[in-house]
C-alpha cells in the first residue's frame, strides 16, 4: 500500500506542476477573436487584451517602413477598415499580399492602429483571381461543375 501512496504523491506532484505551467501558459498567450467592427467599438477596459482579427488586405495598402510593415484590412461586406502595423521579426508569409485573407495577432494601440506581432495569410480563393493578371486562362468565367 505504501508503494501506491508514494506513486499517488509523485503523480499528483507531476500533474500539479504541469497544470500550473499550463495555466500560466494560457494566461500569457490567450488571444480573443474579434471582428474589425468589434475592435472599433471596443471598450477601453479591453485595451490590453491580446486579440486575433481577420480581414482582407486592402489592395495597394501594404507599405514597408524600415522594420515595420503597415497595411489595412477590411471586412468584406461592411466596408470597415483597420490600420495595422506589423513589427514582428518573422518575415511575412508569401501568401500575404493584396486581397489575401490576413489573420493578425496583437493588441489595439491607443492611436487606433492595430499592433500585430504575428501575421498569417491565406491566398485569395482561386475563383476570385483579379482579372487582367497574366494568369493563363483562370477558371474565372467558371464553367459550372457537374457531378457525373
Amino acid at each position: 500500500m505504501k508503494t501506491y501512496i508514494r506513486f499517488g504523491l509523485l503523480v499528483t506532484a507531476i500533474l500539479g506542476t504541469l497544470a500550473w505551467l499550463a495555466a500560466s501558459g494560457i494566461r500569457e498567450s490567450k488571444t480573443y477573436y474579434r471582428t474589425i467592427s468589434e475592435l472599433k467599438s471596443m471598450p477601453p477596459s479591453e485595451a490590453g487584451k491580446r486579440v486575433r482579427v481577420t480581414g482582407d488586405v486592402v489592395p495597394g495598402s501594404i507599405r514597408r517602413e524600415g522594420g515595420a510593415v503597415r497595411f489595412q484590412i477590411c471586412e468584406k461586406d461592411r466596408g470597415v477598415t483597420l490600420n495595422v502595423v506589423y513589427t514582428g521579426k518573422d518575415p511575412l508569409p508569401d501568401t500575404f499580399r493584396d486581397e489575401a485573407q490576413a489573420m493578425a495577432d496583437g493588441k489595439m494601440g491607443p492611436d487606433g492602429t492595430f499592433h500585430a506581432s504575428s501575421i498569417a495569410a491565406k491566398c485569395p480563393s482561386k475563383y476570385e483571381a483579379a482579372p487582367g493578371k497574366a494568369a493563363p486562362q483562370p477558371l474565372n468565367p467558371a464553367p459550372s461543375r457537374s457531378s457525373l
Binding site: T3, Y4, R6, F7, L10, V11, I14, L15, T17, L18, L21, A22, S24, G25, I26, E28, S29, K30, T31, Y32, Y33, R52, R63, R64, G66, G67, K89, D90, P91, L92, P93, D94, T95, R97, M103, D105, A120, A121, K122, C123, K126, A129, K133, A134, A135, P136, Q137, P138, L139, P143, S144, R145, S146, S147, L148
Partner: protein, 671 residues
C-alpha cells in the same frame, strides 16, 4: 475513363460494405464461406480503388483539364513529379489516397493472415472494412474526385490548370502527405487486432505479438511524415522554423505521442502481464486520434494556416468518431475482467515504474496539446467566446515534459525490474551522472546561462552515456568470449537482440534531435535593407550583396540575390536566395538559401526589393545553431527503427496459452 473511375469507387463502396457485413455475420454465426467471401471482397476493394487512383493519376499526368480536380490542382508547366503529387494535393484526391492506402493495408493483413487466427480474422476484417466503408462513402458522395467541368450538359475543358500550390512544389512536401497517411492509416491494423481480440475474448497477448511489427512500421512512417513536414517548413517557409504548434501540426503529433506510449507500455504487458486495460485504451486512442487528425485538417473546425478549405466533411467524421469511440469504450468496459493485471507494482524505483511515468508524461503532453488545439472550440462552447492559445502555452508545458522524458530515456534501461536498491542505482548511474555534470560544468564555464538549454544538454549527455555503456558492456563480453574485434561484436550484440539495441539506437536519435532543438535557444536573426554592392553582418558572418538577377521559365519567374559569405575575412562561397512568382497561380514564393553545417546553419531569405530604393534589397538573415542535428538524429531514429524490425538472431520462446508463432524476448543482461 471518368465514368469508369467513378464506377470503380461506387463498386468499391458496395464491396467494402459487403465485406463488413459478411465478416460480421460470418464471424458471429460461424459461417466460413461468408468469411471467405469477405476476404475476397477485401482484395476486390483494393483492386477497384487502385483502378480509380490510376485513372485519376493518369488524368493528372496527361493534363486532362476536363477533370475539375486536374484543372484546379495541376498545370501543364509543372514537372511530372508534382503532377503525380497533385494526387494528394487537394481534398478529393488525398481522401482517395487515404482510401487506397487503407485498402492496400487491409489486403496485406488479410493475405498474410490467411491461414492464421481463424476466430480473430473475421472481426479484424470487420473493423478494417467498417473504416473502409466510411472512407468510400466520403469518396463517392462527399468529395468525389471524378467531377468534370461542364457547360450546360456538355463536358468541357480549359486550356491550362491553376497549378499545385507553389509552396507545395518542393520535394519534401511531395512526400510528406503519403508518409504521414501511411502512418495515420496504418494504426487501424493494431486497433483492429486489439478490438477483435477483445471481442472474441482471446486469452493471451496474441494481438500484441501479431501487430508489433505493424505498430513499429506505422510509427516509423508517422515519424517520417512529421519530420518531412518539419524539414519542409524549415527549408520553404522562410522563417527557419520547423514547428509552430499549428493545429494541423498538432494533429499529426497527437497520435504519434500515444503511439510512442503504446510501443513502450506493450512491453509491460508482454513481460509482466501488466497494464492491459491501458494498452487497449492507448491503441484505441491512437487510432481515433489518427481519424481525429484527418478530421481536424479537413473540416475547418480550427482555423489553421495550412488547412484544407472548409467543407461539409466535419459532420461525417464526428459521426464516425462518435460511433467508433462509443463502441470501443463499451467493449473495453464489458471486458474489464479479461484485462486484469497479473502482477502488482512493487516499488517506485523499478523498471515498471519508469514505464509508468513515461506513459503518464506522454499522455499529459498529448492531453495538453489536444487541449491547446481545441481551446478555441472549447471556450466557444463553454463561455460563448472563442479564445485561442499560442506557442507559449505549448512550450511551457511540453518543454519540461520533454526533458523529463529524456531523463526517463536514460533511467529506464538501467533500472532493474520489480525493485532497485539505492546501492545498485548508484553503481549503474555513476558514469551517466558524471557525464551530465561535466557537460553542464563546461557549458557554464563557456557562459551558457539558459536554464532549459543547460538541463537539456546535460540530460542529452546523461542518456548518451547510458546508451554507449549498454553497447560497450555487451559488446566487450561478446568480443572477449568469441575473440572478435569490438566493432563486429557490437554488430553481433545488436543482431542477437535487435529489439533492445534497435530501441537504444532510436533513443540515441532522440538525444541528437534534442540537441538540435535546444540549439534554437541561441538563434540569431536580423533584417537589413542593403544596397547592392554593400554588406552587413550577422554573428561571425559578413554578407556582401553582390547583385540581383532575374529571369523566368514556363512555371515561374524569378529574382535572385547573389550574396557572398565571409567569415573573418575568409571567403566561404555564395548564397543565392530567390523570389519566385508562379505563372499559373500568380503566387509569389521565396526560396531561401541555407549554408548547412554541423555547428550552425546560415539561413538567408530574400524578402523583397526595397520600396524606397530600387537599388536595395531587403534580406533577412538568420543563424541557427545545431539545427542539422535534428535531421541527423532523425536518420539515426529511422535506422534504429529498421534495426528493431530485423528478426533477432537468438529467438527466445515465450510460454503462451495460445501458440501464434515464436517471438523474441529481451534476454537477461549479458554477464
Amino acid at each position: 475513363m471518368e465514368t469508369l473511375g467513378a464506377f470503380s469507387l461506387l463498386l468499391a463502396l458496395s464491396l467494402a460494405a459487403y465485406a463488413f457485413l459478411a465478416s460480421v455475420i460470418g464471424g458471429w454465426k460461424k459461417k466460413p464461406f461468408l468469411v471467405e467471401s469477405a476476404r475476397r471482397a477485401v482484395y476486390g476493394v483494393f483492386l477497384l480503388l487502385t483502378a480509380a487512383s490510376a485513372i485519376l493519376v493518369s488524368a493528372l499526368l496527361a493534363s486532362d483539364f476536363r477533370y475539375a480536380y486536374v484543372a484546379e490542382r495541376s498545370n501543364r508547366a509543372m514537372p511530372a513529379l508534382y503532377k503525380f503529387a497533385a494526387w494528394w494535393g487537394g481534398q478529393e484526391g488525398s481522401l482517395l489516397l487515404w482510401s487506397w492506402m487503407l485498402s492496400l493495408y487491409s489486403a496485406i493483413v488479410v493475405w498474410t493472415n490467411r491461414t492464421k487466427h481463424r476466430t480473430l480474422m473475421p472481426w479484424v476484417m470487420a473493423v478494417l472494412m467498417f473504416t473502409q466503408t466510411f472512407f468510400c462513402i466520403l469518396n463517392v458522395f462527399v468529395e468525389p474526385p471524378f467531377q468534370m467541368l461542364a457547360v450546360g450538359r456538355g463536358v468541357t475543358s480549359v486550356a491550362d490548370g491553376n497549378g499545385l500550390n507553389p509552396l507545395l512544389q518542393y520535394w519534401l512536401m511531395a512526400l510528406h502527405p503519403p508518409a504521414l497517411y501511411l502512418g495515420f492509416v496504418g494504426f487501424v491494423v493494431p486497433f483492429a487486432f486489439a478490438f477483435a481480440s477483445l471481442l472474441t475474448k482471446q486469452p493471451g497477448e496474441a494481438w500484441i505479438a501479431t501487430t508489433r511489427r505493424w505498430s513499429l512500421i506505422t510509427w516509423g512512417f508517422l515519424s517520417i511524415g512529421i519530420m518531412l513536414g518539419q524539414g519542409w517548413a524549415y527549408a520553404v517557409l522562410g522563417w527557419g522554423g520547423y514547428w509552430a504548434w499549428d493545429p494541423v501540426e498538432n494533429a499529426s503529433l497527437l497520435p504519434w505521442i500515444t503511439a510512442t506510449a503504446f510501443l513502450h507500455s506493450v512491453m509491460m504487458q508482454e513481460k509482466k502481464g501488466m497494464m492491459k486495460v491501458w494498452n487497449m485504451v492507448l491503441v484505441s486512442a491512437t487510432f481515433f486520434l489518427c481519424i481525429f487528425g484527418t478530421f481536424l485538417t479537413r473540416s475547418g473546425v480550427v482555423s489553421s494556416v495550412h488547412a484544407f478549405a472548409q467543407s461539409s466533411l466535419g459532420a461525417w467524421f464526428v459521426g464516425f468518431l462518435a460511433i467508433g469511440i462509443s463502441i470501443t469504450t463499451f467493449l473495453i468496459l464489458r471486458r474489464l475482467d479479461y484485462l486484469k493485471s497479473e502482477a502488482p507494482l512493487e516499488s517506485v524505483l523499478s523498471r515498471e515504474s519508469s514505464f509508468l511515468f513515461n506513459n503518464l508524461l506522454l499522455l499529459a503532453s498529448c492531453f495538453a496539446v489536444l487541449w491547446g488545439t481545441l481551446f478555441p472550440v472549447l471556450t466557444e462552447w463553454l463561455m460563448g467566446e472563442k479564445i485561442t492559445v499560442g506557442p507559449p502555452f505549448f512550450n511551457k508545458v511540453n518543454i519540461p515534459i520533454g526533458l523529463a522524458l529524456l531523463f526517463l530515456t536514460g533511467v529506464g534501461p538501467l533500472i532493474a525490474w520489480r525493485r532497485s536498491s539505492w546501492e545498485s542505482l548508484k553503481r549503474a548511474f555513476r558514469w551517466p551522472v558524471l557525464g551530465m555534470a561535466l557537460t553542464m560544468a563546461v557549458l557554464l564555464a563557456f557562459g551558457v546561462r539558459h536554464f532549459y538549454a543547460l538541463m537539456s544538454f546535460g540530460l542529452c549527455a546523461f542518456v548518451a552515456v547510458t546508451v554507449v555503456m549498454e553497447f560497450y558492456k555487451g559488446a566487450r563480453a561478446i568480443a572477449a568470449k568469441n575473440r572478435m574485434n569490438f566493432l563486429r561484436a557490437t554488430v553481433e550484440l545488436t543482431h542477437r537482440n535487435t529489439r533492445r539495441y534497435g530501441g537504444y539506437l532510436v533513443h540515441m536519435g532522440i538525444v541528437l534531435m534534442f540537441i538540435g532543438y535546444t540549439g534554437s535557444a541561441f538563434n540569431k536573426d536580423t533584417t537589413e535593407e542593403v544596397k547592392i554592392g554593400t554588406h552587413f553582418r550577422i554573428g561571425a558572418y559578413e554578407l556582401h550583396v553582390k547583385e540581383v538577377t532575374d529571369g523566368s521559365n514556363p512555371n515561374y519567374a524569378w529574382q535572385r540575390a547573389v550574396i557572398g559569405v565571409y567569415r573573418n575575412g575568409q571567403y566561404l562561397g555564395d548564397l543565392r536566395p530567390e523570389r519566385r512568382v508562379y505563372m499559373a497561380s500568380q503566387q509569389p514564393t521565396s526560396e531561401v538559401a541555407i549554408r548547412r553545417r554541423l555547428n550552425e546553419d546560415l539561413y538567408l531569405n530574400f524578402a523583397s526589393m526595397s520600396q524606397s530604393d530600387p537599388q536595395a534589397a531587403v534580406i533577412q538573415a538568420y543563424v541557427f545553431p545545431l539545427v542539422s542535428w535534428i535531421w541527423i538524429g532523425f536518420y539515426v531514429l529511422l535506422f534504429g527503427t529498421i534495426v528493431c524490425l530485423i528478426p533477432s538472431k537468438v529467438k527466445y520462446a515465450y510460454a503462451k496459452t495460445q501458440v501464434v508463432g515464436v517471438y523474441e524476448r529481451e534476454p537477461e543482461p549479458v554477464p
